[in-house]
């Protein structure tokens, strides 16, 4: 029913576009000057046809269930039921009306189900009637306006403006919503676990929090020494550091090669090939790290008499570095290519060699962009999940030995949230606290990156 109505509105919208345009041509044929191109007349009519109808349609979809529920339950209102019981009755009613109710059918519920069904059918038909009459009214209004050849271009442009604004508003509101949900859950978490313990505690063992019997009351003292985030923060930065040690030199050098040394032909093939690296799903990097690099490093280490964990920070960080290479390489290539040729010419004309020119003129000029690309790489490294989950172990060891296993913020969030969880449990809320800190770290990185780029941009032309 809803789908039919929806399709109907869309079809009417298209039809009114053609009617609007046709009307414009008719006006034009009377040698009158149109106030806009004919298609604006079409858009104008189509917008007036579809938009009010859709607004009513969506408002109906939002409020209908609540109103129906209210009406159905009004029969039970003065009988002293609790809210939960009323909800249960309503669920039973709905199930019965769908014929899916298996319990004992009381006359009350049967009556309610009938009422529910009749209300629904009234609602459906009145919805169709109202939507159609709205369409007729608004189309009539708009048709009258275009018939009198009044302006259509401005309203259409304004409407487009509003649509684009709504789209960006949706993106922003989503971000704000996510941040707020993080904040509230984080606050709840810190009500149980002191901030101090979280930030400075050196022991992370969230599984301990899950062992408690859920019927027992929360006892904060039992969580001391459970949610100390230092080891996983250290692990995160340590693995990101290893990754950047791999990614920055290789990425930067390949970027410089592509931009300055490679012939057009090499560049034409090499750049897409490097960018393919960026298209590999991280889970593939993950098992590459876990099944190939990890064991290889372990064997190599053993043959040299070193103790290497099969899930070492080195394997995860190294593979993560490979994953980040294309970002740094491709971005710095773009930045270096956009340095004006006139600067290079100026340097060559002074007798500078290619490497001198790159080192003294091109690289400094491109530096802000390169720093930006590196910071972008760092925030990817910190936010990367799959590789660490698979290759670097899940136990949060506080270590700076690249051959041992360690864990990161993202991996711990995964550990906490897979499987069964209880909302309102400190263990689950710990994931939000971790997410919040991750968000803060990447936010700071982005702000720094923007600052750096802005500060040096003026120097450039």
């Amino acid at each position: 029913m809803n789908l039919i109505l929806f399709t109907f509105i869309v079809l009417l919208g298209f039809t009114s576009y053609y009617f609007g345009r046709k009307k414009a041509y008719t006006i034009q044929s009377t040698k009158k000057r149109l106030t806009a191109l004919p298609q604006f007349y079409g858009y104008y009519l189509a917008i007036w046809c579809a938009i009010p109808a859709f607004i009513i349609f969506s408002l109906w979809a939002i409020f209908e269930p609540t109103i129906v529920k209210l009406l159905v339950l009004s029969d039970y209102s003065n009988q002293g039921y609790l809210d939960d019981e009323l909800n249960l009755i309503y669920e039973k009613t709905k199930a019965l009306s769908r014929g899916q109710f298996t319990g004992e059918i009381t006359p009350f519920i049967e009556a309610s189900a009938e009422k529910y069904l009749s209300l629904r059918s009234i609602a459906q038909s009145s919805k169709a009637v109202i939507v159609l009459s709205i369409i007729i009214a608004s189309v009539a209004y708009a048709y009258k306006r275009i018939s009198s050849n009044s302006r259509t271009r401005e309203p259409v442009e304004k409407f487009l403006n509003a649509v684009l604004f709504t789209a960006s508003l949706a993106a922003i509101l989503t971000t704000v919503g996510i941040v707020f949900s993080l904040i509230f859950q984080t606050i709840d978490f810190f009500k149980v676990i002191p901030l101090f313990d979280f930030v400075f505690g050196t022991h992370w063992y969230p599984a301990k929090a899950f062992v408690r019997d859920s019927s027992e009351a929360l006892d904060p003292t039992m969580y001391s020494d459970t949610f100390g985030a230092v080891p996983i923060f250290a692990g995160t930065f340590f693995i990101a550091f290893i990754a950047m040690c791999v990614a920055i030199p290789i990425g930067l050098m390949s970027g410089i090669y592509l931009a300055e040394y490679a012939s057009t032909k090499v560049r034409q093939y090499a750049k897409p090939l490097i960018e393919i690296l960026a298209g590999i799903p991280t889970v593939v990097y993950g098992f590459f790290a876990a099944l190939t690099v990890g064991p290889f490093l372990k064997e190599l280490g053993t043959s040299m008499g070193l103790e290497v964990s099969a899930e070492s920070a080195l394997a995860a960080g190294g593979v993560m570095g490979i994953m980040i290479i294309p970002f740094i390489s491709s971005l710095s290539d773009d930045v270096i290519t956009s340095v004006p040729q006139s600067l290079r010419d100026g340097s060559y004309a002074m007798g500078a060699t290619k490497s001198e020119t790159i080192k003294r003129v091109v690289f400094p000029a491109a530096l802000p962009g390169i720093v930006g690309s590196i910071l972008l790489g760092v925030s990817r490294a910190i936010g990367e999940t799959m590789i660490v989950v698979m290759a670097s172990g899940l136990a949060a060891n506080l270590t700076f030995n690249p051959l041992e296993s360690t864990s990161t913020i993202t991996a711990q969030i995964v550990v906490i949230l897979i499987g069964d969880q209880a909302f309102g449990d400190p263990k689950t809320q710990a994931a939000f606290a971790l997410g919040m800190s991750l968000f803060l770290v990447t936010l700071c990185l982005n702000i720094v990156a923007l600052r750096v780029v802005k500060k040096y941009r003026e120097k450039y032309e």
Binding site: G346, M350, G351, R360, K459
Partner: protein
């Protein structure tokens, strides 16, 4: 005295020939202007003189260019030394995104010309003075060169070019991006610089060629149509094409 002697120079961009059989002698300590309509090859010829065409992959230069009787197209020619001797100023001012001081000290640094900070300071000061920029910028040597006005930037580029005491300075339409006052300053400067340097200037402005140069070469469609003293080219050219171009009938 003849400083540069070009003999039968052909230039190709890929398969397209840009210059045909150019032979031209350039007098020492004089200003030689190269004029001609757009796309006639005058800038290409200028770029042959310091081998800047090497930078362009598809560009191929044939023929001999003798500077001080040494063929710069020879394999034994060291391009770094060549460009130290032949400075260049470009159409659009292109100071490096560095400080004024670093812009001027760039050449002396890469050629190892100064042994101490003091020597470098002297080089920077004399170069800026010669480029008639010192008085305007002496208090802000450590500010970015890109903060100057267009005319100042171009004089900074001239200071950068003369900092390595080149024998020849090539100027590729140095005033085309500047206003008349800045242009007049640069022209005055060119007159001053020719005492110590041989100058070759490509220009679109015939008035400028007449004002600053002693010799003029007229290029058309990749051919050097006529060359000789500026007086003769402007007052009594041999070739009717030159006549037509100078009187503004085409170009």
């Amino acid at each position: 005295m003849i400083k540069i002697k070009a003999k039968d120079v052909d230039v190709f961009y890929g398969k397209k020939q840009a210059l045909y059989n150019i032979s031209l002698d350039i007098e020492e300590n004089q200003v030689t202007a190269l004029i001609g309509p757009s796309g006639c090859g005058k800038s290409t010829f200028l770029r042959c003189l310091n081998r800047m065409n090497d930078v362009i992959d598809i560009c191929n230069v044939k023929g001999e260019i003798l500077i001080n009787d040494f063929n710069i197209n020879d394999k034994s020619c060291d391009v770094v030394r060549l460009r130290e001797k032949i400075g260049m100023v470009f159409q659009k001012p292109n100071p490096f995104p560095k400080t004024l001081y670093e812009n001027v000290s760039y050449g002396p640094t890469i050629h190892g010309m100064a042994q101490s900070k003091q020597e470098m300071d002297e080089i920077v000061e004399t170069s800026l003075k010669k480029a008639a920029l010192w008085e305007e910028v002496k208090d802000r040597l450590h500010e970015p060169g890109t903060g100057l006005s267009g005319g100042q930037q171009q004089r900074l580029c001239i200071a950068r070019a003369i900092s390595v005491r080149p024998e020849v300075i090539l100027m590729d339409e140095p005033c085309s991006a500047l206003d008349p006052i800045a242009t007049a300053q640069i022209e005055e400067l060119i007159d001053e610089l020719k005492k110590e340097h041989t100058i070759i200037i490509v220009t679109h402005s015939m008035a400028q060629a007449a004002r600053v140069s002693q010799n003029t070469g007229f290029f058309h469609l990749g051919h050097l149509i006529e060359h000789g003293s500026t007086d003769k080219i402007f007052k009594n050219p041999d070739n009717t094409k030159t006549q037509d171009y100078i009187t503004g009938r085409f170009g």
